[in-house]
Structures are given as C-alpha cells and as structure tokens.
Amino acid sequence: MASLSLKHIEKIYENGYHAVHDFNLEVEDKEFIIFVGPSGCGKSTTLRMIAGLEDISEGEFLIDGVKMNDVEPKDRDIAMVFQSYALYPHMTVRDNMGFALKLRKVPQAEIDAKVDEVAKILDLEKFLDRKPKALSGGQRQRVAMGRAIVRQPKVFLMDEPLSNLDAKLRVQMRTEIAKLHERLGTTIIYVTHDQTEAMTLGTRIVVMKDGLVQQINSPEHLYNKPCNLFVAGFIGSPQMNFLDAVVEKKGNDTFLDIAGFPIKLPADKAEALKGYEGKTVIAGIRPEHLLDGRGKEKDFVTIKAPIEVRELLGAEAYLYFTLGGKQCTARVASDVDLYVGMEGTMALDLNKLQLFDKETEQSLLWKEW
C-alpha cells in the first residue's frame, strides 16, 4: 500500500487543449479517493496520468516519495479496473486473473494459489475456466476486480467500474467494493460521475469541473459545506434548490427577499452578507431542508407555492413547485398529504441555508470554515 502525491499536475494535449489545470492532491495510505465531476472535467485524464497511460505535461507525481512521471505503467505497481472491464477475451477467467503474475514470472503454483484465493473472495470459483464472453456483466466486473486484487498492487485505480451495470447490480457491487476496501486496506483512486457512488464510497472526494479542482474533502463536508455553486449543485440528489435573493437591511436585522418572501437571517448568515446590502445573492437550500411547514409557522420561516408535481418514491416523496421563476424540489415523507394543485407551505431550515455570490458563484459562508 502506498501514499501518492500529485503536485501542480497539468495536462495539455498536442492540439493545445488544456485538460487538467494545477492539480494538487496528497493521498494517504489506505485512503479511498473519489474523482467526481461531469463528463470532460478531466477526472479520467488525471487517473490515466497516475496510471502512466497519459504523459504528465507539467508537475510531479510521486508514489511513496519516488517520482513516477516517466516510469512505465508496468513499473508503477498499480492495477486498474476499466469501465469496459478490458478482460482478455481469448483467455479464461483464471488466465485473465493470473496474467500479470505470469508476466512477472511468478511460479505457476503460486499464481494458481493466489487466483484461487481471490476467486473465493469474489465468489468466482465456479467460473475460473470460462471465457469472459460466457459471463454476465456483474461477473465480468468481479473478474476485472479480481485481476487487480491478485497482483496486490500499491494502488488501485478504478475508472467508472460500475457504470456498465444495471441499477440493482450497481448498488450491490458498490457495497462489495466498500467491503473489499475495508478488507484489503488498499489505497484506491476511483473515478465516477455518479455522486451517489462518490458519497457512499469515498473517504475523500475530489470534485472537478473543466479541468479544475473545485473542492477536496470528505463526503459530509462537501455536502454540508460546499465551497461554490457547482459543488453545491453537483453533490446531493435531487440537487440543491438555488433561488435569487435580494439582501435587505432593516435596522440591525438582515433579510433575504426570496420571491417576495422576506426571510430574516440568523446572525452568522447575516454576518456573511456584510457589504451585500441591496445586492442579489444566490440562496441554496437542499430539498430535505424544505419541510412541510403547515403548523410550523411560529418556529420556522415559511414560504408558499402551489404544488405542480408529486413523485412518490416509496418512503419519501418529491414535491415540485416554482418559486421566483425557478423550479424547486422538496423532499418530504411519503405520508405528507400535499398533492398536485394544493398550496404548499414550506418551512426553511435556515441553519442549512447556503449563500453564494451571484457573480463569482463562490460560497459566502466559505470563510467561516
């Protein structure tokens, strides 16, 4: 197992396209790091630079303090699980899993023992003599994992390994990967565009956009304290509601005018809005922080809007309504009796309210943290 260090990494392609800008990250031993972001944000490129499949244009990449920029992929002691699994179609599962050891001239008996051991962990014993085409998607995925595990590398790299699986299997494999990380205690770098995978698996998440790192922190931190509008919108599902709000000062109190509803801010939030009086900021509130406000008018600030759509998901329901011209979502318990056409009263949990500068899109609460 190993620690990784990425210092001022840049990736500029021959055609001048700048894919990754000044990427800095220190990965500690046994960490589960997630690179997350929309398509084209540079997360896979960064992973491929770590693997040695792409050249690093500028910066330094070190594994256990040793510079790896120009070291061949085979000499970096890493294993990678690809999105398409990349299993060798002409080899059996056993040969696929033992291929890397065979190349390293490990004695056949030792290879067999290791393959058998990993096959047992991944429940692949029955399929060892099959070719990949005779396996289901989930089994292929497990073989790809097995191929990586057998080598006992310093670092595991996973490039969207679950994206080809159906929803049910994806949840199952997600749990399996979490268990494996626990069991093997390996350093893992995992790329995904699925924020649920990011939230459930990662010890730390690197949020990227347009080749730039937006924020690096634990899932809880990113969820509760996003540094900018992008992170706030990307992390969490359904995504955070964003509303234009005008800052007003009345005496010692600071109010936010959201779609005609004056909302008095608590002191800490008011402090963050100093100098914004009369200006418009973006208020962000997660769907689960919009509660059914009926009868709570005394304790909470409430807003009213007609319910346009109600989606029942089983244990909970999503209520959609429009506020200040923007579509908003509230996540409530499924037994809340608010239906389409009814006037919804929503209570805002002001402690959870996020505030962003409309121009820079940076969090105005960021300096507090």
Binding site: P73, K74, I78, M80, A86, A100, L103, R104
Partner: protein, 287 residues
C-alpha cells in the same frame, strides 16, 4: 386473394427464384470439379470417348496417379509448393499484422496514414503491369531469380497490402484500446502486448488471410513461371505444364495432377472455414 395472401405469395416466389439462381450457380461452379473427380479414375481413351460417364468402359483405374506423379516429379514440386506457400503466408501475416497494428495505433502520425494510403492505392495496380519490370530488375540487375526466397518475398510484397488492409479494419473495430492499456498496466511491453493480446484476437482475420493468400500462392502460375525456370524449383501449377504436349494432352494425367494440387488447399479451407465469414465481416461492421 387478400393483400396478405398476395404478399405471402410474392415472398414465396422471390424465395423460390433465389433458390433456383443459387442452385444454378452451384452447378456451374461444381461441374469442373466433378469432371476432374470422375475422369481422374478413367483411362485416356475412356475420357476422350465419354467424359461424362461416371465409370469408363475400361473400368475404374488408379493408374493416372502414379504416372502423373512420376512425370511431374510430384514429391519435389509438392515440397516446393508447400515451402513457398507456407513461408509466403506466414511472412505476409506477420508483416501485415504488425504493420497494421502500428498504423492503427499511430493513426494521427502522418507518416503512418501516408504509408497506409500508399498500400491501399497499390492494390489497384494490376500485376501484369509490374510483371516485366519486376523480372528484368530482379533477373537482370540483381540476378536473384531461380531462388525460392525471391518468390516468397515477391508473394509477400504483392499480398501484404490487402492483408494489411484487412488487419487494419479488424484492429480498428474489434480490438479496444483499453485491452492494450490493461496489458500495459499488467506488465506487458508494447511487443508483448501485440503478441500476447492483440495477435491472438486477430484469429478470424488470420484465418481469412491464410485462406485467401495460401490459395493464391498455391495456385499461382504466372509469377512462379517468371521467377522459377529451374525445373527442380517448379511448383505444382508449373509442373502440370509437363502434361500439355504440342500435339496432344494427356488429359487423365492432367486430371490426376489437378486433383493432387487441389487436395491440400481444400483441406486447409475446410479446416479454417468457420473463421472465414467472421474474418471477412470483421472490420466491415461495427459491433
């Protein structure tokens, strides 16, 4: 008749026409083969008197085989054909598979795309155009005619463009880059990646190229007749010339020689047949 019945009848009719055309074509192609097979077991007189009879008036005979084999020095010419065909085919496959791998994976490099374009362009030049300069250059200037290796290299040179074109398609569409990357991470060098991962996956294309080229090399008459004038180096097609006299042709011996010439390539075809369709279509259709 309802519209549905009309459509069904039309469908049936077109199906029947298609079957008839196929059967006619099959008969057209199989007749020469059948003629060889039925006449090879007859005496020369029987063949001339009734070439269509299944068994001649003098009955079933195997006499044509030993006679033909002796006259054409069969074992020697068979050996020559075998050496030339096998080595030319192997060389063609190795050179073109490796070339196409480099061309596909360095497609952005203009040198590679230029070489590939030249190769494709060379496929449209008929052999007859090159025939005379080829012999005059290799015979007159270099003096390397009458060597098996000369013919082998010429065969390879002429067939490598088509083979590279086929391998190019197969690698481009059927071998994902991720497989090679997985191999690189697993510990392969570029060279190992090609031999351990890419080459085994080209099996259908290898089979197709083997059949197409081995057949062409085995049956080739023109090029060997220009390059090999020494009788001891003759291949089977040139050796069959021995049966065609100025005034008469011993047709029974010709048939025996043809059958002997046909058999190895027929066996090879039957052996590799299951790969042919896969090989021809691979690269044509994106999977």
């Amino acid at each position: 008749m309802t519209q549905n019945e009309k459509a069904a009848a039309a469908k049936k009719r077109s199906h029947a026409i298609m079957i008839i055309v196929l059967v006619l074509l099959f008969i057209l192609f199989i007749i020469p083969f059948i003629l060889v097979v039925i006449n090879v077991f007859k005496t020369k007189g029987d063949i001339l008197s009734n070439p269509m009879a299944l068994i001649g008036a003098h009955g079933f005979t195997l006499q044509n085989f030993p006679e033909a084999m002796a006259k054409m020095n069969f074992f020697n010419v068979f050996k020559n054909s075998l050496i030339i065909t096998i080595l030319s085919t192997i060389l063609t496959i190795l050179v073109s598979a490796m070339a196409s791998f480099v061309i596909v994976r360095n497609g952005k490099w203009k040198f590679c795309s230029g070489i590939f374009a030249l190769m494709v362009a060379s496929m449209v030049i008929p052999f007859q155009v090159l025939m005379v300069p080829l012999v005059s250059v290799y015979g007159g200037i270099f003096g390397v005619l009458n060597h098996r290796i000369t013919l082998i290299l010429m065969h390879t040179g002429f067939s490598v463009s088509m083979a590279t074109f086929m391998f190019h398609g197969a690698i481009h569409t059927n071998i994902p880059l991720e497989l090679e990357e997985a191999a690189l991470i697993d510990g392969c060098s570029r060279w190992q990646t090609f031999w351990k991962v890419v080459f085994p996956l080209l099996k259908p294309t290898i089979a197709t190229v083997t059949i197409i080229d081995a057949m062409a090399f085995w049956n080739d008459y023109l090029l060997p007749s220009l390059v090999l004038t020494d009788k001891s180096l003759y291949t089977i097609p040139i050796a069959t010339q021995a049966f065609y006299g100025t005034y008469s042709t011993d047709i029974g011996l010709v048939m025996a020689a043809l059958l002997l010439a046909m058999l190895p390539i027929l066996i090879l075809y039957l052996f590799l047949q299951k790969y042919i369709v896969a090989g021809v279509t691979s690269g044509a259709v994106k999977g």
